[in-house]
């Protein structure tokens, strides 16, 4: 197989249980985002735009939607004669079936995949974040610093630092210590879960990690600390720009709203760094004679007869006459009945919201409207009407 300078390994097996029903039937990287995309579109488009055309995608949890979405990678221009996208599910060996028990073991089990390209560098990515980043610039930094490992970091607010893996560095960005979710953080440089390894170093440490029965086989918890203990050269790569972990219903909602309110930071209209996605092939959106659409993103296939304010509408959504949708994210092909009024909620895809449904969420949390929620709501409304 032709040699590749850098191979990317994208960890896409996460369950994302804090996304509740959104990840009941699909893996977190497949969760819809921004009116048209899925989370995994961001790392895959970043790879394509960075000129990294060999990407292994490690799947495990609920892979059906993700696998068929990725296909042969043509949506991201990653259907290549050599390299391209390869989906790497766990597999069985003659003796046992090996599930991916941690991030490091997932890569370990696919060492053969990486070896066949004989790369110099391996880029480790996760499918959990919304950001636009040039990995090639990071690779240049890694080469220039002659590092064994480069870890991309971002400055987070000090009061949130204890939620992240925190890097302590010297003035040359050499990592001196790594603290996973420290109670009293001494730095606010958070690891973004993006690593570039020298391939030979990674291979050795993954083999050591696999043979260590006490290891939890995790990059952040085991592999990075072991490398630090051995005084390898670990360098932090400071990233500036929009980056968000969309691990909870609220953070997913917030990131969608950021597209409306922080467009200078996360600009989807930038031509030179397009975020690609699988095209749903729907006709243009139709706005009816009574439609009011303000401060919103609306995708193709929508038919809008009501009022939409400060919301993100995925493809094929229908909003009936006199319905009002405010501060909402409406997932693909949902239908909102006439006269309904929805505020500060995420509507699940394919959901049919009955006429005159009124859900105003004024709590700080974001409500996820599911079929079960609607059934309960309708039952209570009928009771109220009868009383």
């Amino acid at each position: 197989m032709a040699k590749q300078k850098c191979v990317a390994m994208l960890l896409a097996g996460g369950k994302g249980s804090r996304l509740k029903e959104l990840t009941e039937k699909l893996a977190k990287p497949a969760v819809p985002f921004g009116g048209k995309y899925r989370i995994i579109d961001f790392p895959l488009s970043n790879c394509a735009n960075s000129g990294i055309h060999t990407v292994g995608v490690l799947t495990q949890y609920q892979p059906l939607v993700l696998n068929s979405y990725i296909g042969i990678g043509s949506a991201w221009d990653l259907d290549r004669r050599t390299g391209g996208v390869t989906v790497l599910p766990p597999y069985s060996e003659s003796s046992e079936v090996k599930w991916y028990s941690g991030t490091a073991s997932a890569i370990y089990q696919n060492l053969n995949y990486i070896s066949q390209y004989d790369p110099e560098y391996v880029l480790i990515l996760s499918g959990d974040h919304i950001y636009k980043m040039n990995y090639d610039t990071m690779l240049d930094f890694h080469i220039e610093k002659q590092a064994d490992v480069t870890i991309s970091v971002i400055e987070v607010p000090w009061d949130e630092a204890s939620r992240f893996g925190i890097m302590n560095t010297d003035e040359h960005y050499n990592v001196t210590r790594f603290d996973e979710k420290p109670e009293k953080p001494e730095s606010n440089l958070a690891s973004m879960g993006i690593y570039i390894f020298k391939w030979s170093v990674l291979r050795d440490y993954l083999e050591m990690d696999e043979n260590n029965p006490d290891s939890s086989n995790d990059f952040g918890k085991d592999v990075i600390p072991a490398m630090l203990a051995d005084e390898l050269k670990l360098v932090a790569y400071p990233f500036q720009g929009y980056w968000k972990d969309v691990g909870t219903v609220k953070s997913l909602w917030e990131a969608n709203m950021d597209l409306l309110d922080q467009e200078q930071d996360l600009n989807m209209f930038e031509h030179s760094w397009r975020i690609y996605s699988v095209n749903p092939n729907q006709p243009p959106q139709i706005l009816g004679t009574e439609a009011i659409v303000k401060h919103s993103l609306v995708n193709e296939g929508c038919v809008i007869d009501g009022e939409i304010n400060h919301s993100v509408m995925f493809q094929g959504v229908e909003v009936g006459p006199n319905a009002v949708v405010k501060d909402c994210v409406v997932m693909p092909n949902a239908r909102i009945g006439r006269g309904s009024s929805l505020e500060r909620v995420i509507i699940m895809g394919d959901l049919e919201v009955p006429d005159h449904t009124v859900i105003h969420n004024d709590s700080d949390e974001i409500l996820l409207i599911t079929e079960a929620f609607l059934a309960e709501y309708t039952q209570e409304r009928t009771k109220m009407e009868e009383a």
Binding site: G34, F269, P284, A291, V293, E300
Partner: protein, 336 residues
């Protein structure tokens, strides 16, 4: 049986009354309905009817048509067997002579029947019932009609098509249409009336009228349905952004637009920008056109990549919409 039909799209139509819209492109490649080109409709109808081999006869200028169709991937026609074939033709030749030049394509094809269509018919037709009638009624030639008029869409056997091509000098026929219209021929001519929404686009007037008809829900829904989708070349535009100042009613808007102004009863293609304080009424705005602030635009067709400077006022009439050529710049001075 489905597999057994060959599709032929005659895209040699002259610009005629399509005027400015067809200067740089074949009429088949004229942008239509926000994100499509005219040829997408007949091509998607063919694919949705199970046709897997399509021959397109374009004539110059066909660059934009070939750029649009590419390998046929977006219509699922990038096949090892069958697929999409281009046969660029000389304009001075007639239909049957152009086919004669490429007779090897027809000789090689294993399909038994041929569907021949023009390239600018806008409809969402399933051709399978028409083929069934053709077979059941033992027709030689079948003509698909709409409101009793020909749609220039025909079904015949590949065998008969080859005969028409080979004997064209003796018969004097220049096209399949000639054979259908010959009162003295011995052919069994059948008709298949299509009752749904169908328009043939032959002039700017047709183009404007049909585009505006799509804003009527009953017509729109006859053209677009999830079971027989209209395919087109895929672009990676983000969803359309509406600002707090925007006001859009009764319009069809494609992806990737940034709308800050007022739009009413109009069709807006991909990646169009409409500036603050501008009003766009009864207009068709093609892809990547930039409309500045405080413009007043009524009954105008803007071709691709037009720049309308701030404060411009342009008005056509419902009968005679103003057409602004591809890539032109409309300033306040020019338009006042």
């Amino acid at each position: 049986m489905k597999k057994s039909m060959l599709g032929v799209i005659d895209a040699t139509m002259l610009p005629g009354e399509m005027g400015e819209l067809a200067i740089h492109r074949s009429p088949a490649a004229i942008p239509f309905a926000g994100r499509y080109r005219l040829v997408d409709f007949v091509l998607s109808n063919m694919v949705n009817s199970g046709i897997q081999s399509v021959a397109i006869f374009p004539c110059s200028p066909y660059r934009s048509l070939i750029d649009h169709l590419g390998s046929g991937k977006d219509w699922d026609l990038n096949r090892k067997r069958d697929g999409l074939f281009f046969f660029p033709a000389q304009i001075k030749e007639d239909q049957l002579s152009r086919m004669a030049e490429n007779i090897d394509y027809f000789e090689r094809s294993e399909q038994k029947f041929v569907l021949i269509s023009s390239c600018t018919t806008v409809a969402n037709i399933d051709f399978v019932p028409a083929l069934e009638r053709f077979i059941n009624q033992k027709c030689d030639l079948l003509e698909i009609t709409h409101k009793g008029e020909s749609t220039c869409t025909y079904i015949l056997s590949l065998h008969l098509l080859m005969d028409l091509i080979k004997n064209r000098n003796e018969t004097g026929y220049t096209s399949v249409q000639d054979a259908v219209n010959d009162q003295h021929s011995s052919f069994t001519i059948c008709q298949y009336e299509y009752n749904g929404f169908l328009q043939r686009i032959r002039s700017i007037k047709d183009y404007y009228k049909t585009s505006m008809e799509l804003l009527e829900k009953d017509k729109w829904s006859q053209l677009f349905n999830e079971f027989q989708p209209i395919f087109t070349k895929v672009k990676d535009e983000p969803p359309t952004k509406y600002t707090s100042n925007s006001s859009v009613t009764n319009s069809m808007i494609a992806n990737g637009c940034n709308i800050e102004g007022e739009v009413n009863h109009s069709i807006v293609f991909r990646a169009v920008h409409i500036g603050k304080g501008s009003t766009v009424q009864n207009c068709i705005v093609m892809q990547k056109t930039k409309i500045g602030s405080n413009c007043v635009l009524e009954h105008v067709i803007f071709d691709k990549d037009v720049i309308v400077e701030d404060g411009a006022v342009l008005r056509g009439t419902p009968e005679q919409p103003l057409v602004v050529k591809k890539g032109s710049v409309e300033s306040v001075v020019a338009s006042s």
